[in-house]
């Protein structure tokens, strides 16, 4: 038969209790701080995502087009672009680019910012436009084309207010 002798535990002193509480609070604060730091980091990461992830791809496509074209026209809509109605040089969502090919023909492609998407179309020889070849970006807040001093400029505004302007002159 065993008999355990229970000893009386000593209680914490006030000082010990204070220290332990402070340490606990410090641990809690540090945990919260680290948590906030991570949130801030993720927020910055997210904020930069358009410029770091989307914009380079946009740049790759747009630079293949803007500055390589032999002619350009700006319009308010795709239907205007196809019918060559109301061409202008002021800020417009649609840009027609014409390219001279080695066989002497001229072909056109269209960049159009419509419903929040920057689409790229190749105009077939028949002139009847089909669906877009691809969407260059769906995250831009705004895309405007305009001419300044003979240079075609493409102003790309990101979802967080970031702004890049691509430029090209006719060849």
């Amino acid at each position: 038969m065993k008999i355990g002798i229970r000893k009386m535990r000593k209680a914490f002193t006030l000082v010990e209790l204070t220290v332990v509480m402070m340490v606990g609070m410090m641990i809690g604060s540090m945990l919260i701080a680290i948590f906030n730091q991570q949130l801030a980091f993720l927020r910055i990461y997210q904020l930069q995502s358009f410029v770091t992830e989307e914009a380079p791809m946009i740049s790759l496509y747009i630079n293949r087009l803007i500055g390589k074209a032999d002619r350009f026209r700006l319009h308010d809509s795709i239907s205007d672009a196809l019918s060559n109605t109301d061409p202008r040089i002021t800020a417009s969502p649609v840009c027609v680019l014409n390219f001279r090919l080695p066989d002497g023909s001229m072909r056109a492609s269209i960049l159009a910012f419509e419903d929040g998407v920057l689409n790229y179309y190749v105009v077939p020889e028949s002139g009847v436009l089909g669906p877009s070849e691809w969407s260059i970006t769906q995250r831009a807040a705004d895309v405007q084309f305009y001419m300044e001093q003979g240079i075609l400029r493409t102003q790309l505004t990101g979802p967080q207010g970031e702004q890049l302007i691509y430029s090209g002159a006719t060849q």
């Binding site: 641990i27 991570q38 770091t52 500055g67 970031e162 702004q163 890049l164 090209g168």
Partner: protein, 145 residues
């Protein structure tokens, strides 16, 4: 108590690791951001160089003076998230093709340059600093007559 102190110490170490990790992730993105924005701006420099009338290009008040003279200007490269302006310095100059006639800065003759071409390399260089390092991005355009 001991465990709590150990926990604090561990927390401190974890915090520092996470901070370092965050910086390691964000710093290269700074490079990417700067490159992307500078690339976009440099397309403008290229277009300007292609479009400027040749007469203006070779004039005494040309935006691209003949090397070793250069022309520097603070320019707006673009805007960061939140609309914050990002600026940089662009330096412009132009250099003659060696086969130009002497009057056009080269050493060509009628034997080497029978077509009497005048060719200039028009160069714009954008310089910026990231993390204490100096970067330069260049665009060269050839103009000829």
């Amino acid at each position: 108590m001991i465990e709590a102190v150990l926990a604090m110490g561990l927390l401190t170490i974890i915090g520092l690791i996470l901070l370092k990790l965050s910086l390691n992730i964000l710093m290269p993105r700074q490079w990417t951001v700067q490159q992307t924005i500078t690339n976009a701006y440099m397309s403008y420099e290229r277009a300007l160089a292609e479009r400027i009338p040749f007469e203006n290009l070779v004039a005494s008040n040309s935006p691209w003076p003949a090397f070793p003279t250069t022309n520097s200007e603070n320019v707006e490269l673009g805007r960061l998230p939140g609309g914050r302006l990002i600026t940089g310095t662009v330096t412009r100059t132009r250099m003659p093709y060696e086969n130009n006639f002497p009057i056009d800065g080269g050493s060509g003759t009628i034997d080497t340059n029978p077509a009497a071409m005048k060719v200039w390399k028009v160069q714009s260089v954008a310089t910026y600093t990231i993390g204490g390092r100096n970067y330069a991005k260049s665009r060269t355009v050839l103009r000829s007559q």
